[in-house]
């Protein structure tokens, strides 16, 4: 892992076009990650736990006596919520790292 280099000394450095492009891609990847994770959040909680709960109750969670809709409403959704945040942390911290390093590289190449 690259050494941690703080990128700026002042409050807001001027950005070169390459830097701006990197920041733009960073924000877009961030939005994509958010969209996917929020879909999972919706499907697990409000979807399986509420909207389709009565239909899911026809099945049971394998190996237990939980009707599936009931399980999603009272246990499953919470477990999935915790996992969603975990994945978010890992992905975003990785993305931060990646773009941080990219910005450092761009600066070196541009000789600043």
């Amino acid at each position: 892992m690259a050494e941690h280099v703080p990128l700026n000394d002042g409050p807001r450095p001027e950005r070169s076009p390459a830097e701006k492009e990197s920041l733009r891609r960073y924000w877009r990847s961030n939005l994509r990650i958010l969209a996917v994770l929020l879909c999972i959040w919706f499907v697990a909680g409000l979807g399986c736990g509420v909207l389709w709960a009565d239909w899911l109750n026809r099945f049971t969670l394998p190996g237990t006596a939980f009707p599936l809709g009931f399980w999603f409403a009272q246990q499953g959704s919470i477990v999935i919520f915790v996992l969603v945040i975990l994945v978010y942390c890992l992905l975003l911290n990785w993305l931060d790292r990646k773009h941080h390093d990219e910005l450092v590289r761009i600066r070196k190449e541009e000789g600043r």
């Binding site: 929020l38 709960a53 006596a65 009272q74 915790v82 931060d96």
Partner: protein, 617 residues
């Protein structure tokens, strides 16, 4: 040793611990006072957030609510955890990057307007006072039930403790006491749940026990699952099946709206949001979101298990029993009025959903009203209906059928025949839950007045000492007001909690999300949106709760929308007004747009703003 003595030992011991932490964590500057010097590690912040969030309601009442609501009780479980996903993904990292002290600070700076700041301050104050009143009452109730002091003395002791550690240590003191309080409350919640799970199913993890089979000796040697048995008992007694997804007024639309409103409201509650300002970096803010939900989930996946176990226990140990066969926990709790048996003369307890139900609670009845009813009922039985009055239809009319929901958690240890010290530990857990939430709320009140109102609007030249002094005095005043609410509870406390979530969902959540994810939304549309959202939500709740307006079905839903769920509509109104007006008004200034740009950068590409070096602070 008696329960009372054990309770004094545990409660006294935990209070001494909180005070010791407060002394160790005392602070001298505003940064320490409001955001704990931004030096809190992510897991500790997660625990503090969890304790901050889990109030007396989560600890004492939630399992009881689920126990009576069955599957639909999932709205509280999903609503109060799902909000953390929104908070951690959409708000926390960005707000931390802005580097302010409070939520109104963000709203005021992003929308570049003191009007927006004031609207936010008023919302924050209203939400926090509503909430804190309930916590102080919770403190009093726990004191009065477990130690022989009256509710008012209990409230005053609680006030004194909170006052000391929140004025001495500010956010730093509050954070570290909350970490201690988390462990007290989670242990107190888990021990009885684990014990009762082993007793009923043999599984030592309660959430697994919930989906397991009953011990054969409890089911006449047959293989029956706990939930299956519970469904069958409930049906036999005329209740709806425990696992039935939607029953009565909790139809699909209402469950959906209430769950979503609780999620959006959770994400907009100022005392939870400010916790993310206390960590060092944006990365740590993300991780504390994860730790917070993980620690909260420990209680939230156990609560439905406690609920189902207690439901099973309650029906099995009461229904069909005679006075001699009733368990001792029933007699202990009968004294508190949380559970009552009103016989029809046959000497056998009947607990059902129908007219023959004999299990009630005293609710808001005074003790004289209650004893008059019971005397009349006794007369009615003895005279075979010639004199007196059957108390059951009267109590049913007053909607007092069934035991009080609070008994579920409070009496579970006794149902499971656990030793006295565990029962006493549950009292300390309830107090920890109430005090930790109360202190977090008091700090929000203090910062809203001393930082947002006094420093940012009234006297921007105030020195560090002046600001600290104002901050501490406001906490003092707020503690006293909260205590007065606890001693003289306004009858509507429980009803206005819907307000807190509805307002947070309809005001803060959309304003902050748009502030981060749109660079185009300007001052006027945002203020109009907030006012429209709050206005509609407040009007609907007030009309439904206080003036008996029939809930609207908006022409598309099969039944009217419960006031608890109306925040969702309020939020959409806010969004629609804000986005509708946006093209008509100028975009925010270049300075604000640059500020928004800066929070959208990866960490360290422009460091998280430090309050001390930021030009405007």
């Amino acid at each position: 040793m008696s329960i009372g003595l054990w309770t004094v030992i545990f409660v006294g011991g935990s209070f001494a611990l909180y005070l010791a932490i407060a002394w160790w964590a005392r602070v001298r500057d505003t940064k320490g006072f409001y955001v704990a010097g931004r030096g809190v590690p992510a897991p500790a912040n997660g625990m503090a957030t969890a304790a901050d969030w889990m109030s007396a309601a989560s600890f004492i009442s939630m399992a009881g609510l689920i126990s009576t609501m069955g599957s639909a009780g999932g709205v509280y479980l999903m609503g109060w955890t799902g909000g953390y996903v929104l908070l951690a993904l959409l708000l926390a990292p960005y707000l931390r990057k802005f580097g302010h002290f409070t939520v109104p600070d963000f709203v005021g700076d992003r929308y570049d307007s003191n009007v927006a700041r004031l609207v936010a301050v008023i919302c924050a104050l209203f939400i926090s006072f509503t909430y804190v009143a309930g916590q102080m009452r919770g403190v009093g109730v726990v004191f009065s039930r477990f130690i022989e002091v009256d509710i008012n003395t209990g409230v005053i002791i609680g006030m004194a403790i909170v006052f000391v550690y929140s004025t001495l240590g500010g956010m730093k003191g509050i954070t570290w006491t909350q970490v201690a309080q988390y462990w007290v409350l989670i242990t107190a919640f888990l021990i009885p749940a684990i014990a009762i799970s082993i007793m009923l199913t043999g599984a030592s993890v309660p959430s697994i026990g919930l989906g397991a089979n009953l011990r054969p000796e409890l089911a006449d040697g047959q293989v029956v699952s706990l939930l299956g048995k519970l469904d069958q008992i409930q049906t036999d007694l005329g209740f709806s099946r425990y696992t039935e997804a939607f029953t009565g007024t909790w139809d699909k639309a209402n469950v959906f709206f209430v769950a979503l409103a609780l999620m959006l409201g959770t994400a907009g509650l100022p005392h939870v949001i400010v916790r993310f300002y206390t960590v060092k970096t944006v990365k740590a803010a993300r991780w504390s979101g994860f730790w917070a939900l993980l620690f909260i989930a420990l209680l939230y996946v156990t609560a439905p298990a406690t609920a189902a176990f207690a439901r099973y226990f309650m029906i099995e140990s009461l229904n069909g029993k005679t006075a001699e066969q009733l368990p001792s926990w029933f007699h202990n709790w009968e004294k508190t009025g949380l559970i009552l048996w009103v016989d029809n003369g046959d000497g056998v307890v009947r607990y059902s959903a129908g007219d023959d139900n004999e299990i009630f609670r005293s609710g808001t009845l005074s003790s004289t009203e209650l004893s008059e009813l019971l005397v009349a009922n006794q007369k009615w039985i003895e005279s075979a209906g010639a004199e007196g009055a059957d108390a059951r239809p009267i109590l049913r009319e007053k909607k007092l059928s069934g035991p009080d929901i609070d008994i579920i958690v409070l009496a579970t240890p006794e149902m499971a025949k656990l030793s006295n010290w565990i029962i006493a530990f549950v009292a300390a857990g309830g107090l920890a839950a109430a005090l930790s939430t109360a202190s977090g709320l008091l700090l929000v009140i203090s910062s809203s007045v001393a930082h947002d109102l006094y420093y940012r609007v009234l006297n921007p030249k105030a020195t560090e000492q002046q600001r600290l002094l104002v901050g501490r005095s406001v906490i003092g005043v707020a503690v006293v007001i909260a205590g007065i609410f606890g001693i003289y509870p306004p009858g509507f406390v429980s009803q206005v909690v819907a307000f807190a979530f509805g307002l947070a969902a309809a005001s803060f959540f959309p304003a902050i999300v748009l502030g981060i994810f749109s660079k185009r939304v300007g001052t006027v549309p945002a203020i109009c949106g907030m006012i429209a959202g709050i206005g509609f939500t407040a009007w609907y709740i007030i009309a439904c709760v206080f003036f008996g307006m029939a809930p609207w079905n908006f022409g598309i839903f099969p039944s009217g929308i419960n006031p608890q769920g109306i925040g969702v509509i309020g939020m959409f109104i806010n969004l629609a007004v804000t986005l509708g007006l946006t093209p008509l008004f100028p975009p925010p200034s270049a300075k604000v747009r640059e500020m928004v740009d800066s929070v959208r950068e990866p960490e360290d590409a422009g460091a998280a703003v430090e309050i001390e070096t930021a030009p405007e602070h």
